[in-house]
C-alpha cells in the first residue's frame, strides 16, 4: 500500500515560516558576523514590522486539517505578540549593552518564542497548542537565564523552568483525560464531542478541564498559579521581563480563549464562577501585594498579575463581547506596560540599575520628560481616563456587567482603586519627593521610539479608541 503525502497549503502558515527563517538567519548572522548586534536588531525589527503589516492583510484560512487556523482572532493575537517582539527588541539594544549580555542568540530565541506564540494563537488542536507552548516556554527559559553571571537571572530561569515543567505536566494530564473522554485532540472536535456524548456534567471531564485551565492560568500568571511571576519578572533581564509580561501572556490568553470558547462553551455554567474567583483572586493578589514592593520591577510584576485578572474578566462571561474586550485589553496593556518598562530601562545605567522605588524620587525635577511619560503610563495602568487603560478596563467591565457578573465587577473595581494606590506611589515619588541623586537620562533613539509609540498608543487609544475596538470586536473566533 502506497501512501501519498500531500503537502497542505502553506500560505496560511507563511508568516510563521518566515519568522522561523528569520530566526535561523539570526543564528547564522550571529555565527558569521559575530557581535554585530545592530544587524541582529535591525533584522528582527524588520521582520517584526513586516510581519505585522503582512498579518493585517492575511486572509482567514486553515491548513493542516484543522490543526492550524488563521482567523482574525488568531491574527489579532499574533499582532499583539509581534508588537511585543518589536518593542522589546527596540528596548533590548541598550539594555543588553548595559548588562553585558553578549549572546547573539538572544534575538533568535526571542523570535523562536514568538513563533511558538503564533502557533499557539492559531492552534486548532491541543497537540499543536502543547508544542507551541513548549516552544515558547523553552525559548523563554533560556532568555530568562541569559544573564549567566547574574545569580538572580539563574535563579529566575531555574524557577521558571521547574514550575513551567510542572504546570505543563498538569496541563498534559488534563489533555490526556479530555482526549480519553472525547477521543480527539481537535479543539472544535472536543466541543462537538461534549455535546454529542452529553458530558456536560461529567466530573471526570471537569477534572481534565480544570487541569487544562490550571495550566493556562499558570501561563497567564493567574492566582493561585501566579507564584512564579514576581520572582521571574524580577530576576529576568528587564527587556525580557517586558517581553514576557506582554507576548506570552497574550498568546496564552489566545489559547485560553479558544479552548474555553470553542472546546468548552457547553460547560460555561461550570467554569464561569471558577474563572470569576480566579480573576478576583488574581486582581487581589496582584494589586495588594504590589503595594508593599520596593522594587519597581517587582511592582510591575505584581501589577502584571493584577492585569491578568482584569483580562480574565472578559473571558469570564463567555460572550463574544467579553473576549473582544480581553483582546483589546491585552493590546492596550502591551503598549502601556512596554512604555513603563522602557522608562525602567532608560533609568538604568552601567553602574546602577535604579530598580528601586527610591531611585524615582524627584524624577520630575531631574528628568521631567521621563517622569511625565511614566506618569501617563502609570495612570493608564491604573485605568484613569483619558488614557487607553481606562478604555480597556471600561470595555472589560461592560462585557462582564452585560453578562450579569455584577459582584465580580464591583470587586474588580474596588481592587482597581487599590491598584491606583501603588501606581500613585510611584507618581508621588517622582513628583512629590526631593531627588535623591541627580542624574540625567540619556535617551537612545530606539528607546525613544518605544516610548513615543507607547505614549501615542496610550493617549491616542484613550481618546480615539474606535478603530481598535472595532477591530477587536470583529476579530472573534470563527468570524
Amino acid at each position: 500500500m502506497e501512501t501519498v503525502f500531500t503537502l497542505p497549503p502553506l500560505n496560511p502558515i507563511l508568516p510563521e515560516i518566515l519568522l522561523l527563517c528569520i530566526g535561523l538567519v539570526l543564528i547564522g548572522i550571529d555565527l558569521f558576523f559575530p557581535r554585530n548586534r545592530e544587524l541582529l536588531t535591525r533584522i528582527t525589527l524588520l521582520a517584526g514590522v513586516g510581519l505585522i503589516a503582512a498579518l493585517l492583510y492575511q486572509e482567514p484560512a486553515s491548513s493542516f486539517g484543522t490543526m492550524f487556523v488563521v482567523d482574525s482572532y488568531a491574527l489579532f493575537f499574533k499582532v499583539v505578540c509581534l508588537t511585543g517582539l518589536v518593542l522589546a527588541t527596540l528596548m533590548s539594544d541598550r539594555y543588553l549593552d548595559m548588562e553585558g549580555i553578549h549572546q547573539g542568540e538572544y534575538y533568535s530565541l526571542m523570535v523562536f518564542s514568538v513563533v511558538g506564540m503564533m502557533f499557539m494563537a492559531s492552534a486548532g488542536d491541543l497537540i499543536v497548542v502543547y508544542l507551541g507552548l513548549e516552544l515558547m516556554a523553552l525559548s523563554i527559559y533560556c532568555l530568562v537565564g541569559l544573564q549567566k553571571h547574574e545569580h538572580r537571572s539563574n535563579e529566575a530561569a531555574l524557577k521558571y523552568f521547574l514550575m513551567g515543567s510542572f504546570s505543563s505536566a498538569i496541563l498534559l494530564f488534563g489533555i490526556s483525560i479530555v482526549y480519553g473522554m472525547t477521543g480527539t485532540t481537535d479543539i472544535r472536535g472536543i466541543g462537538q464531542a461534549i455535546t454529542d456524548m452529553s458530558l456536560i456534567n461529567n466530573p471526570a471531564l471537569m477534572t481534565g478541564f480544570v487541569m487544562i485551565l490550571a495550566g493556562f492560568c499558570f501561563k497567564v500568571a493567574a492566582a493561585p498559579f501566579h507564584f512564579w511571576a514576581p520572582d521571574i519578572y524580577e530576576g529576568a533581564p528587564t527587556s525580557v521581563t517586558a517581553f514576557m509580561s506582554v507576548a506570552p501572556k497574550a498568546a496564552s490568553f489566545a489559547v485560553l480563549g479558544r479552548i474555553l470558547f470553542v472546546a468548552f462553551p457547553e460547560i460555561h455554567h461550570h467554569w464561569d464562577i471558577v474563572v470569576a474567583v480566579i480573576a478576583l483572586l488574581t486582581m487581589a493578589v496582584g494589586n495588594i501585594m504590589a503595594l508593599s514592593q520596593t522594587s519597581i520591577k517587582r511592582m510591575l510584576a505584581y501589577s502584571s498579575i493584577g492585569h491578568a485578572g482584569y483580562a480574565l474578566l472578559g473571558v469570564l462571561p463567555g460572550t463574544a463581547e467579553g473576549l473582544s474586550a480581553t483582546m483589546n485589553y491585552l493590546l492596550i496593556y502591551a503598549l502601556m506596560n512596554m512604555g513603563a518598562f522602557a522608562i525602567l530601562i532608560l533609568m538604568c545605567d552601567k553602574n546602577n540599575r535604579r530598580e528601586s522605588l527610591e531611585a524615582y524620587k524627584g524624577l520630575a525635577g531631574t528628568n521631567p520628560m521621563a517622569a511625565a511619560l511614566m506618569l501617563i503610563f502609570f495612570f493608564s495602568l491604573a485605568g484613569i481616563p483619558p488614557t487607553a487603560g481606562f478604555v480597556g478596563k471600561f470595555y472589560l467591565l461592560k462585557a462582564a456587567l452585560a453578562a450579569g457578573y455584577t459582584c465580580t465587577v464591583v470587586g474588580a473595581v474596588l481592587l482597581s482603586a487599590v491598584s491606583a494606590w501603588f501606581y500613585l506611589k510611584v507618581v508621588r515619588y517622582m513628583y512629590m519627593s526631593e531627588p535623591g541623586e541627580s542624574f540625567t537620562i540619556s535617551y537612545t533613539p530606539s528607546l525613544l521610539v518605544v516610548v513615543w509609540i507607547a505614549v501615542i498608543g496610550v493617549v491616542g487609544l484613550g481618546i480615539m479608541p474606535g478603530t481598535l475596538l472595532d477591530w477587536a470586536a470583529s476579530s472573534l473566533i470563527g468570524s
Binding site: 497537540i127 535563579e155 524557577k159 482526549y179 514576581p230
Partner: protein
C-alpha cells in the same frame, strides 16, 4: 483484556508520586526526574487511551511529549550547570534570593 481503568489508576498513582517527589525533594536533578515521572504517567494514560480509542493521536502526542521531555532535559540541565557554576549548589531551597 486489561481494563483501561487499571492503566489510568497506575497513571494517577505515578503522577501523584511525581508530584509528591517534586514537592519534597531538594535536589534539582531529582526534581527533573520527578517531572519525568509525571510525564510518563501522562504518556501511559495517552497510550492506553489511544489504544482503547483505536486512535493514534494519543500515541503521537506521547511521541512529542518524549521529544519535548528530551528538549526540556537539555535546557534544564543547562540551567543547572549555570547555576552550579555560580553557586556550587543544586539545592532547590537555596535558590530563594528572589522573594517577597
Amino acid at each position: 483484556m486489561i481494563p483501561l481503568s487499571w492503566y489510568m489508576t497506575l497513571s494517577v498513582l505515578l503522577f501523584s508520586i511525581g508530584v509528591y517527589g517534586f514537592l519534597v525533594r531538594r535536589n534539582i536533578i531529582i526534581l527533573f526526574l520527578c517531572i519525568e515521572l509525571m510525564l510518563n504517567a501522562v504518556n501511559l494514560n495517552l497510550v492506553a487511551m489511544g489504544h482503547y480509542l483505536d486512535s493514534l493521536d494519543g500515541h503521537v502526542l506521547t511521541l512529542f511529549v518524549i521529544t519535548v521531555a528530551a528538549a526540556e532535559a537539555a535546557i534544564g540541565l543547562g540551567l543547572v550547570i549555570v547555576l552550579f557554576r555560580n553557586r556550587r549548589s543544586v539545592h532547590v531551597d537555596t535558590i530563594n534570593e528572589l522573594k517577597g
